[in-house]
Point group: C2
Chain length 193, copies 2
């Protein structure tokens, strides 16, 4: 259950076993079936989730009813509506399971307590948040600078495993292109080869 989390943390910073055993007690285990919601727009995001198994997505729905995916999270990644989690404001995001998932949930107070009591954890979270920021900045600039086709191919190159597990129209939604356009881009690319 906690092996993956342990592995992920120690890849970044040494944690002694005692500390980690203590940290374990902070979590709540949660399972969701495919299509179930972890968070719905308007609710407050009370937990962040470490994905032990399966795949989640977070997304907004715009005024016209189209959805835009912010993030996918598979095994070893964290998922939450950070903004709502930190402010306790109602969420603008939806988060649901794309496959059956097993999650380790951590409330905000427990999270803060853990980081306070175990400095290595503050370091760990600083690093992963920092990495997350770097990749989000890259994605933002790419969304400004690149064409639909370039964005799609960069997505393929960056998240090859994800493409196997996620339906095409969600890749389109993540990349910022309509599903029809993505279908045409793929056709062209196939013909060129």
């Amino acid at each position: 259950m906690f092996n993956l989390l342990y592995k992920k943390i120690s890849a970044i910073t040494p944690v002694n076993e005692e500390e980690f055993d203590y940290f374990k007690t902070f979590f709540i285990l949660k399972k969701l079936r495919k299509r179930q919601y972890f968070l719905q727009e308007g609710d407050v995001c009370k937990y962040q989730a470490f994905v032990v198994k399966g795949l989640l997505r977070s997304y907004t729905i715009d005024g016209k009813g189209s959805d835009h995916i912010l993030q996918f999270a598979s095994e070893g990644w964290w998922m939450a509506d950070l903004s709502s989690y930190l402010t306790n404001d109602p969420s603008f995001l939806n988060i649901n399971a794309l496959e059956d998932v097993e999650l380790l949930l951590l409330t905000r107070p427990k999270w803060e307590q853990a980081m306070k009591e175990i400095p290595a954890l503050e370091h760990y979270f600083r690093i992963i948040i920092q990495n997350h920021l770097v990749s989000t900045q890259k994605r933002l600039l790419q969304s400004l600078a690149e064409t639909a086709e370039e964005k799609y191919h960069r997505f393929l190159a960056t998240y090859p495993e994800c493409v196997q597990r996620v339906p095409q129209h969600m890749v389109a939604s993540y990349v910022g292109v309509s599903r029809e356009t993505l279908s045409r881009i793929r056709k062209q690319a196939a013909e060129r080869k």
Copy 2:
């Protein structure tokens, strides 16, 4: 010189004076005149900069020669190409001064050392990076979900001070719209009023 930095840090976490005096010794003071570069594409980003006075921007130039602004940083904000700073890879970003600036520079090794020796600083940086991530995620979703006009007006609402100090075509570049389109959006909005 360091007053603003002290204020900014203590707004987030208590720091005792001794620690802060020690932290001070880690910085290099740097002044740049308007239009001068802090970082040029291809160079490694050796410093992150705390802006004491003035205004900076970071941006990429795409294949067609258009530029896309990632960030503005005025008094009290940090600026760097985080990716290059962390990896030592050549930067894809340019950073230059939009006004004469005074900066406090911090190298990567000094930064790491400071956070290691003063745990409050790791906390401080975790928080500001986290806030930065939240706002970047919002901006990303808005860039996917909103029209040019909505994006512009949201920019006005979010960064009213910035609009006073930054030329219009850079606002356009930040928002992800051509300068001509922004000019027309403004005309329309003025007519409607």
